[in-house]
Each structure stands twice: as C-alpha cells, then as structure tokens.
C-alpha cells in the first residue's frame, strides 16, 4: 500500500474542525484589519469562541449527553474535562472582554475617539510634535 | 584566663569601647581617654595571646553555628597573631595621634569618628583571628562598612565622592569575586577551615587553581592589586588618622593578610609551588609595584603620593605569597610589620604637616624642615625603612623577598624589587630632602656662607601628634635589630601539611 498522501475521508470527516478554523480566521481578520477598538474586541471574542468550540467538539462522545449528573448511573456522558476547562475559559473570556471595554471607554474619554489610527496619530504628536490641547483630563 | 577567653576578650574590648565612647560623646576628654585605654587594654590582651601562641598554643573558639557546616569560628595561628599584634599595637599610637590631630584640625563629629575607629579595629582583629573563610568574609565586609563613615568623615562633596569610589570598588570586588571564590572553595572541599598546608590539595583539578586564585586575588580588593587599586588614592580624602591607621595598617593590611592566609592555609604554599598556579600573580604584583611607584613619582599631593606608595608596597606582600616558597611567606609577613611601622609614620607626618603648616602639596614643603625638624627626621627615617636601607627595618623584609625570588629562580623579580627601591628613593626621600635642604621658595636665597643653623623657631604639630611620630620612627630602627625574634616566630608558619603544629 503506497502511503496515502491525502486521506480524503479523514479530511471530510472532520468538517467541524474546518468550521472552527474558518471562525478563528474571521476573528483574527477582524482583529487585524479593523481600526475600531470595539470591532477588535468583537473579533477577539470570535477567535476565542472558535477555540472553545474546538475543545468541546473534541470531547464529544457519540451518544454521550452533556456531563451533568442526572442521578441515573448508566447514562453515557461526553468527556467532562473539556467542558470544565472551557467553562472557566468562558468566564475568563468575559473578564478580559469587560476589561477591554473599560479601557476603550477610558481611551474614548481621553482621546475622544476609538479609532486606533487617530489615537496613534494623537500620541505621536503628543510625544514629539505640537502638544495638542486635548480636551480630556489626563 | 584561658587562651580562648583571652581571644574573646581581645575582640570584646574594642566592641565594648565602642559603646562607652558613644555614651561619653558629650565629654571629649573622657571619650578620648576611653579610646586610648581601650587600645592599651586590647594590646595587653593581644600580647598575652602572643606569648601563648609563641609557646605553641592554638586556641580556637566557635561563637555561633549559623547553619550546619557554617560556623563563626576564631582560631589563632602565627600569621593571624602577627597581624593582630601590629593592628592593636599601632591602634594605641594612632589613638593618641588622633586626639592631637582631631583637636588640632578642629574636626567636627569626633564621637562618630572614634566609634567607627573602634569598630574597624574590632573587625580587623576578628579578621586576624578568623578560623574559616566564612568568618573572615563577614568581618572583611564589616571592616569595609565600618571604614566608610571614616573615609567620608568631612562630609564634603569630594569626601563623599571618594568614599563612594572606596565603597564601590571594595564591595563589588568582594561580592563579585571573593564571595564566589569562597563558595567555590566550599563546594570543592566541603569545608572552609583554615588548615595548615592548605585544603585544596587533591580536591581541585589543577587546571582550575589559577582561576580560583584569580578570584581570590581580585576578590580581596583591599590588597589593592592593580586594576582594583583606585579606592586607595580615592580614600585619601579621609582625615589623616584614618589614613594613618586604616590605609597604612588595618584595612590594607587586612587585605594582604587575607591574601597571605588564603595562600598559606587554603591553597597551601607547597601546592601553589607545585602547580605553579601563582605564576601570573607574580607578574601582576611586579607590574603593580612598578606602575604604582611610577605614578607615585608624578603625584604632587603628599597623601596621594603616599597612597600610591602603599599600593606599591602592598604588592610586595602579594608577591611574597605568589612566589610560593617559605622565604616568600616569611618576607611577606615581615613586610607587613615593617611597612606598617614605616607607612604609619609617613601618614602621621603628613597629618602633622597639615595641622602645623596647612600644607598638603609636596612642592610647598621646601625649607619647612627648619620649622618642623622632628617631623621631617621621622619622615626620613620611615622613608629609609620603606626603601629598604639597612639600618632600618624594611631592609630585612626586602632581603627575604629577594631570597624568595632567588629560590623561585625569578631573576627578573629581583630586578623589579631593585628598581622599585630606586623609585622609592626618588619619590620618598625627595620630600625630607627638599624640606631640609632646598631653600624655601618665598624667602630670598638663604644666607650664604654661614652653614644654616636650624633656626630656633620650631613650629611643630601639637605634642599629641609629635610623640607617636617619634615612637613609630624609633620603632623602624628597633625593628632592624629585633628582626631575629620575628624571623624565628615567622618560621613557625606552617608551609606544608606535615609540619602542622
């Protein structure tokens, strides 16, 4: 048997992985390309969710239900570990998003805009060129 | 009183004196009295210890065990005893001298001065008596720290700058090199004990010995080897009693004493000789001797010149250790005594000149000899001793260093020692010669014909300064004749393991 270069059904069989990759790439693209800080945070969250789903899908056992104790000893559960892990990851994700949003609000107050390019321009002027009397209280 | 108690007492007296001096700060006469009394008491105890050491006793006291294997232990052997005797003996002279100087020069904050002085002496004695590298390292650092306020005594910007350089170099070299060396030794041999004939024999791959020696040599910044000698001239901002005792006796001698002790009791002279590990140190010490002498030649400031002279003379002792034979150790140890006696006189004279005539530059000293004949005679005697001219002590230590160089077959080193003597003549003797014999610059050419009788107008430093100067100058001469005893005593320093007492 010559070694199979591309195992086709393996590739097609893991369609859900491809879904997560696409989701991840979109999140990445949003973060990279958008200048608006809020949109960057949204992109970040997309990226994050794709990772969560990847873990969950890895833990799925055919016929296994969500790993929540039902009192019936012979129910088949999916692998609980990824679930637990992702639960915490979700919580952490929320926390980071909250922090990011708080920062954006402060940036908004300081620079009057959330567009990153404008902010960079302002910082540059502040450090080196004319000191622009920014309205916000530093 | 057993030897062990005497040992502890010798360390305790300066420590107690510290507190007494602090307590009597408001009454200067009592405070000075205490400091002199403490020095005399310490010297008496040290002398009692000396007798028992000569009789062969080797007292040892373990103070506290910090951790298993790490103890603060004091044990006396001949070399340590010698250094302790020199330090405590000259403490008396300097205590008396500093009374005269501090009052003559109207220095302020004298209480803090005497406290730190006593602490420094206590640290020096502890170094002398330390039984292992750990104790030695602790008190080595205590000595550095206790001398910092002394160097920065005047609290002028220059004094602070000088003290910063002083502390900087000494602390960095000791932590960077010495601590590493101590730890490396401990890891290699499992012990830090000073043992006759050295502990490294067989525990270390001979290839590493030069590196360990380098760590020790540069680690002991107080021995003022060339790259790390800057602190000594920088410490000259200190008032003269500090320069006198510390930079002629306590601090620098602690450095070279540690060098000798490490060489003899950690590496072992025989071991050094066999592995030839100290070859590079011989050349470094020789280079230090010559370069420091040449630099001293160019210095017009009196104390800077004496400082560089000290740097050069210290390397004699390091050279003695590096030549790795018995004569080298004997010569080095003897030079500790001779140089201490001579150099302390020079520094005290420099102080007396400052107090009496407010002159610090060598070029200003022309014709001063007529006004201060005793000071300059003492200066001349001390210079003769340091140059190594015969009727004075220094000749013998140079004799043994030359013997050691001959034993080691180093003819070039003999040449270096000879050249250094000539350089010493050039930069040391020119001072008393100018003072006595060259016409004072301000006066008209002196009266022709009639041989100049020393005019009766003596303006010497206060008596408290003058007496110690004459004492130590006489010491230089006495040492020449009393050298037989010192030689017998120094022979008892164990060179190879089997001769351990």
């Amino acid at each position: 048997m010559p070694e199979i270069i591309l195992d086709l059904d393996f590739v097609l069989g893991h369609y859900n992985y491809w879904m997560f990759v696409i989701l991840m790439m979109t999140g990445l693209y949003v973060t990279v390309s958008r200048g608006n800080l809020i949109k960057k945070i949204v992109g970040l969250n997309l990226f994050q969710t794709s990772v969560f789903m990847l873990y969950i899908s890895m833990g799925k056992i055919v016929g296994g239900t969500a790993p929540i104790l039902t009192g019936d000893p012979d129910t088949v559960y999916s692998n609980p570990l990824p679930h637990v892990l992702i639960l915490t990851a979700i919580v952490v994700g929320i926390a980071t998003t909250a922090l990011a949003l708080a920062l954006v609000i402060r940036i908004r107050e300081t620079y009057g805009t959330v567009e990153e390019d404008d902010i960079l321009k302002m910082e540059h002027e502040m450090d080196f060129g004319v000191r622009k009397p920014d309205g916000g209280s530093r | 009183m057993t030897d062990a108690n005497a040992l502890l007492l010798a360390l305790a007296i300066p420590a107690i004196a510290m507190f007494l001096i602090a307590a009597s700060g408001s009454r200067p006469n009592i405070r000075d009295g205490i400091s002199v009394a403490a020095s005399i008491a310490t010297f008496a105890v040290v002398l009692r210890l000396l007798e028992s050491i000569i009789a062969g006793a080797r007292p040892s006291v373990t103070l506290v065990e910090v951790m298993p294997g790490l103890v603060i232990n004091f044990s006396i052997e001949p070399l340590g005893m010698l250094f302790a005797t020199v330090a405590s003996g000259l403490w008396i002279v300097t205590a008396i001298y500093s009374i005269g100087y501090m009052r003559g020069a109207h220095e302020k904050k004298q209480t803090r001065f005497y406290i730190c002085f006593a602490l420094a002496i206590a640290a020096a004695l502890a170094i002398a008596f330390s039984g292992n590298l750990f104790t030695l390292f602790i008190f080595y650092e205590v000595l550095t720290l206790s001398t910092y306020p002394l160097v920065a005594h005047k609290e002028t910007p220059e004094a602070r700058a000088g003290a910063r350089v002083y502390l900087g170099i000494l602390m960095t070299t000791s932590i960077l090199f010495l601590l590493v060396a101590v730890i490396w030794t401990w890891s290699l041999t499992g012990t830090m004990e000073f043992r006759a004939g050295g502990i490294l024999e067989g525990n270390i791959d001979p290839v590493f010995v030069p590196f360990l020696l380098a760590l020790f040599a540069f680690g002991i910044g107080k021995a003022a080897l060339m790259p790390f000698h800057r602190w000594l001239p920088a410490a000259m901002v200190a008032p003269t009693p500090v320069s006198a005792l510390l930079h002629a006796v306590a601090v620098v001698k602690a450095g070279v004493f540690t060098m000798l002790k490490v060489g003899t009791y950690i590496f072992g002279i025989g071991f050094l000789g066999r592995t030839g590990a100290s070859e590079w140190l011989v050349w470094l010490a020789a280079a230090t001797i010559l370069i420091a002498s040449i630099v001293a030649l160019t210095k017009d400031d009196l104390k800077a010149r004496l400082a560089y002279s000290t740097v050069s003379q210290l390397s004699y002792i390091t050279l003695g250790m590096a030549l790795a034979n018995q004569m080298g150790v004997v010569g080095g140890a003897m030079h500790i005594v001779m140089h201490a006696m001579g150099k302390i006189t020079l520094f005290m004279c420099a102080g007396a000149i400052y107090v009496a005539a407010h002159k610090t530059k060598v070029s200003e000293l022309d014709g001063l000899g007529r006004k201060m004949p005793l000071t300059f005679i003492a200066f001349a005697i001390a210079s003769f001793s340091i140059i190594g001219l015969p009727p004075f002590g220094g000749a013998w230590s140079k004799w043994y260093l030359l013997l050691s160089a001959a034993d080691a077959g180093q003819l070039v080193i003999i040449g270096v020692l000879m050249l250094s003597s000539l350089l010493n003549v050039a930069y040391l003797l020119s001072i008393p010669a100018r003072a006595f014999f060259s016409p004072p610059k301000d006066q008209m050419a002196h009266s022709l014909g009639a041989a100049a009788l020393p005019s009766k107008g003596w303006e010497e430093a206060p008596l408290f300064c003058l007496v110690p100067i004459c004492l130590t100058a006489l010491g230089c001469i006495v040492l020449f004749f009393a050298v037989g005893g010192i030689y017998e005593y120094l022979l008892s320093i164990p060179i190879s393991p089997e001769t351990a007492p």
């Binding site: - | 022709l448 014909g449 009639a450």
Partner: protein
C-alpha cells in the same frame, strides 16, 4: 707669567715677598732656561749608569724624557680636540647643577670676595 708686578709689596705676607721674584718676566725666562738645562742634563745622565730595563724600548737613552714630552703634547692636543665636542655653556644643566650657582654657598668665608655669580 704674571703680566704686571703689583705695587703693594709691603701688604704681602713675608713668604710671598720671597716668591714675588717670579713676577718679573725676565725671571720667568731665566727659570725656563734653567728647566731646559736640567732636562738636558738628565737626558745625558742616562749614559752614566746601567739602566735596569723591563722592556727593550727602555734601553734607548733618554727615552723617558722624550716619551714624557710627546705624551704631554698629545694629551693636550687630544684634550683640546675633545673640548670642541663636549664644551657647553655653563647653564647647560641650569636648574639641576651647581655650575651657575654662587659657589660661596658651599660654606665659604662670609667675606669671600670673588666668585662673581654668573650674570
């Protein structure tokens, strides 16, 4: 030799008056010819006695005299030649030598007259 006979004969110590005949030039030439005569006599005397000689060259009569004369003259001329090379003004080593200093500092009599210090 001395060009002018000075007057104050009386002020001189007695011994000097005895020697002052040397002052007059004709006495000087008389002494010179006396010296010449003695030398010739010495030269001739070589024939009168057996000369115990170490080296062959000593056999030759009056060789010592001639040798002395020639040696003296050569020494003088060589020295004059040498002086051309090594002569320097007195203040050549100026601050570090005693040549230009007033020599009376060496402990001369306080009323020492001469020794005009180098201008």
């Amino acid at each position: 030799m001395t060009d002018h006979p000075n007057g104050e004969g009386a002020g001189m110590p007695p011994l000097a008056r005895l020697l002052s005949f040397i002052d007059k030039p004709h006495n000087v030439t008389r002494v010179f010819y006396l010296l010449l005569a003695v030398c010739i006599a010495l030269g001739l005397s070589d024939f009168l006695y057996h000369k115990h000689a170490y080296f062959a060259v000593e056999e030759f009569p009056a060789i010592y005299g001639i040798f002395g004369f020639i040696a003296y003259v050569t020494v003088i001329f060589l020295a004059k030649g040498l002086r051309l090379i090594i002569k320097r003004p007195e203040d050549y080593y100026e601050p570090f030598a005693i040549d230009t200093e007033d020599e009376r500092a060496a402990g001369s009599d306080p009323e020492a007259t001469g020794g005009k210090p180098h201008a």
